[in-house]
C-alpha cells in the first residue's frame, strides 16, 4: 500500500524537553489511524511535524512523497484549526470559501456543510455559533480542499453526544470514500469508534501500534500490588516491576492471579488491585523484557 506519511527515527526537542524520541511510523493510503496517549505524550508534536508547523530535531518526516514544509505538498492534506481561534467576524460560508481558495480541488460548499450538519448556518457569523457548531465547522474545514490525508487533533473533546455523532459520521463518510485520516485523542472510546489501527504514544515514544481490539485488551489490564520477598511463577502476568519492596504485577485477569498466589502459599501482605492508566499499561509492557522480579 502507498505510504502517505512517514516518520523515520524522528526526535524533537523543545529546550531541555525531549518531546519525541526516535519515533518511526508509516501512515498508509486508506487507513484511519488513531494516535492515543495522555496530554504531553507527544501526539501534538507528531502532528505538528506532519503538517509542517515544526521541524524535527533529528530524523526525517515525509508527507505525500515530499516535505511538509512545501506548500505544494500541503495541497494534499487537511488540518483542523482549534475552534477557539476561528475568526469571529466572518460568516460560516466566508470562512469555507477562504480556506477552499487555497486548494486546487475544492469540496462543494453546500455538500461539505451538510456533511457536518451545518447547512443552515452558512450566513451565520462565527461569533454567534455554539461550541459544538464551532467544533464541527473546524473539522469541516479540514475537508474543504478534497485532501488525501486529514489530521484531526482531538476532534470531539468536550462535545455533547449528538454533536459527536454528527462529527463521527462526517469523518466516516470521508474514510469510506477512500480518504486517509490520522486523529489524536486521549479517549480510547473515540478512537474505538473511528479507527482500526491505534498508535499509543507516551513519553515521546510509540508504545504500541496495533489493532483497536488488541489495544483494548491491554487497556483492560489491572495492576496488582503487594509486598513479598519472592514470588513464584504466576499465570497471566503481562509485566512487573519492583519498587521500595513492593511488587507491581500487570494482568488481564487479576482474580486468577490472586487465586494462584494464595494457592502457592507464598507469604505476602498489603494486596492492592487497581485499574491501570493507559500509559502505565503500555509503559509496563514495553519495559517487560528488562524488568527483574
Amino acid at each position: 500500500m502507498t505510504v502517505l506519511a512517514r516518520a523515520t527515527e524522528v526526535s524533537r526537542r523543545y529546550g531541555d524537553v525531549l518531546a519525541l524520541d526516535r519515533v518511526s511510523l508509516d501512515i498508509r493510503a486508506g487507513e484511519l489511524v488513531g494516535l492515543l496517549g495522555p496530554n504531553g505524550a507527544g501526539k501534538s508534536t507528531l502532528i505538528n511535524l506532519f503538517v509542517g508547523l515544526r521541524r524535527p530535531t533529528s530524523g526525517t518526516v515525509e508527507l505525500l512523497g515530499g516535505s511538509p514544509q512545501d506548500p505544494l505538498v500541503r495541497q494534499g492534506i487537511g488540518v483542523t484549526p482549534q475552534e477557539t481561534g476561528l475568526p469571529e467576524a466572518l460568516r460560516v460560508g466566508e470562512i469555507v470559501d477562504f480556506v477552499s481558495a487555497h486548494y486546487p480541488h475544492r469540496a462543494d460548499k453546500g455538500e461539505l456543510l451538510e456533511r457536518f450538519g451545518l447547512q443552515d448556518l452558512v450566513k451565520r457569523q462565527i461569533g454567534g455559533l455554539s461550541g459544538g457548531q464551532r467544533r464541527r465547522l473546524a473539522v469541516a474545514l479540514a475537508f474543504a480542499g478534497e485532501p488525501r490525508v486529514v489530521f484531526l487533533d482531538e476532534p470531539t473533546t468536550g462535545l455533547d453526544v449528538e454533536a459527536r455523532r454528527a462529527l463521527w459520521d462526517g469523518v466516516r463518510s470521508f474514510h469510506e470514500q477512500g480518504g486517509t485520516i490520522v486523529l489524536t485523542s486521549h479517549y480510547l472510546e473515540e478512537i474505538e469508534a473511528l479507527a482500526r489501527r491505534v498508535i499509543v504514544v507516551g513519553h515521546g515514544r510509540v508504545l504500541a501500534d496495533d489493532t483497536v481490539t488488541a489495544i483494548r485488551d491491554v487497556v483492560g489490564t489491572r495492576r496488582v500490588s503487594l509486598t513479598a520477598a519472592e514470588l513464584p511463577e504466576l499465570p497471566g502476568v503481562l509485566g512487573s516491576e519492583r519498587e521500595d519492596g513492593r511488587v507491581h504485577l500487570l494482568t488481564a485477569d487479576p482474580d486468577r492471579l490472586v487465586v494462584e498466589l494464595v494457592r502457592s502459599g507464598t507469604p505476602f501482605s498489603g494486596l492492592e488491585i487497581r485499574p491501570t492508566s493507559l500509559e502505565e499499561a503500555f509503559l509496563a509492557i514495553t519495559s517487560k523484557e528488562t524488568a527483574d522480579v
Binding site: 509542517g52 477557539t84 475568526p87 467576524a89 466572518l90
Partner: protein, 246 residues
C-alpha cells in the same frame, strides 16, 4: 497566486469592516483634529489649509500603519488560528500582501472624512491630478510606518504593542510637523524635524498637493528610515518564526 492574495485581502478587509475599531480610530482622530484646529485657525489660508489637510491625512495613515498594523499582527500571533493558516498550502506571501493591501485600504478610507471637511469648511483646494498624486505620496510616505508597525507587531505581545505603538506614534507625528507646521515649532524641534520619518512623508504629500519644494534632508531621512525599518521588520519576523515554527 494572485487569487490567494485576493482571498487573504478579502478576508482581512471583512474583519476590518465588521470590527471597525482600527478603521474608526484611524479616521476619527485626524477628522477631529481637522475640526478642532485646522478649520478655526487655518481654514482661511488656501495653501496653509491644503498643507494642513495633507498633514491630517498623513496622521490617519500613520495611525493605521503604526498602531493598526502592530496591534493586529501582535494579536494574530496570539491566536491559534495563526498556526492553522500555516498548514494551508500557501507560503507567507499572500497573507503578508493581504495585510499591506488592507492597511492601505484603511489609510485611504481614513482620508475621506478629512477631505470632506477640508472641501466643505476650509479654503483648501487641490486639482484632481494633484489629489491623486497626493494620495500616492501618502501611501509611499506611509511605507516606513507600515514596516515599523510590522516590526512592533512581530516583536511585542499585543498588550505591549497597543501601548508602545502610541508612544512611538505621537512624538514622531508632532516632531515631523504634522500637528503644527514646522515653521511654528520651537527652534530645537525645527532642527530635529527633518530627521524623523513623518517629516519626509509629509513633505512628499505637501509637495504633491501644493507643488512646494520638499525638504531634501527630510526625503533622504525618509529613505534611510524605510531601509532601517525594513531590516528591523525582517529581523523581528525571522525571530518570531524561529521561536514558534522551527
Amino acid at each position: 497566486m494572485s487569487s490567494l492574495v485576493l482571498a487573504h485581502t478579502r478576508y482581512q478587509l471583512l474583519e476590518q469592516i465588521r470590527v471597525p475599531l482600527g478603521l474608526v480610530a484611524s479616521a476619527f482622530f485626524p477628522a477631529a483634529s481637522m475640526l478642532a484646529f485646522v478649520v478655526p485657525f487655518g481654514g482661511d489660508d488656501p495653501v496653509g489649509a491644503t498643507r494642513a489637510t495633507g498633514s491630517m491625512m498623513m496622521i490617519g495613515a500613520m495611525s493605521a500603519a503604526v498602531m493598526g498594523l502592530s496591534i493586529s499582527v501582535a494579536q494574530d500571533r496570539e491566536q491559534p488560528w495563526n498556526p492553522y493558516l500555516r498548514t494551508l498550502p500557501a507560503g507567507p506571501f499572500p497573507r503578508f500582501a493581504g495585510r499591506i493591501l488592507t492597511t492601505m485600504a484603511v489609510m485611504l478610507a481614513a482620508t475621506v472624512p478629512v477631505l470632506v471637511i477640508a472641501a466643505l469648511l476650509t479654503k483648501a483646494s487641490v486639482t484632481a491630478p494633484r489629489l491623486a498624486l497626493g494620495l500616492a505620496a501618502l501611501l509611499a510616505g506611509a511605507l516606513p510606518f507600515m514596516l515599523i508597525g510590522l516590526f512592533l507587531g512581530f516583536l511585542l505581545p499585543s498588550k505591549a504593542a497597543i501601548g508602545v505603538s502610541q508612544v512611538v506614534f505621537f512624538p514622531i507625528a508632532i516632531v515631523g510637523g504634522l500637528f503644527m507646521p514646522p515653521q511654528f515649532m520651537p527652534e530645537f524641534l525645527q532642527a530635529l524635524s527633518p530627521y524623523v520619518p513623518s517629516r519626509g512623508a509629509a513633505e512628499l504629500v505637501w509637495s504633491a498637493a501644493t507643488g512646494s519644494t520638499p525638504n531634501i534632508t527630510g526625503i533622504v531621512m525618509l529613505v534611510v528610515w524605510t531601509v532601517a525599518a525594513a531590516l528591523a521588520a525582517a529581523w523581528a519576523y525571522r525571530r518570531d518564526e524561529g521561536r514558534r515554527f522551527s
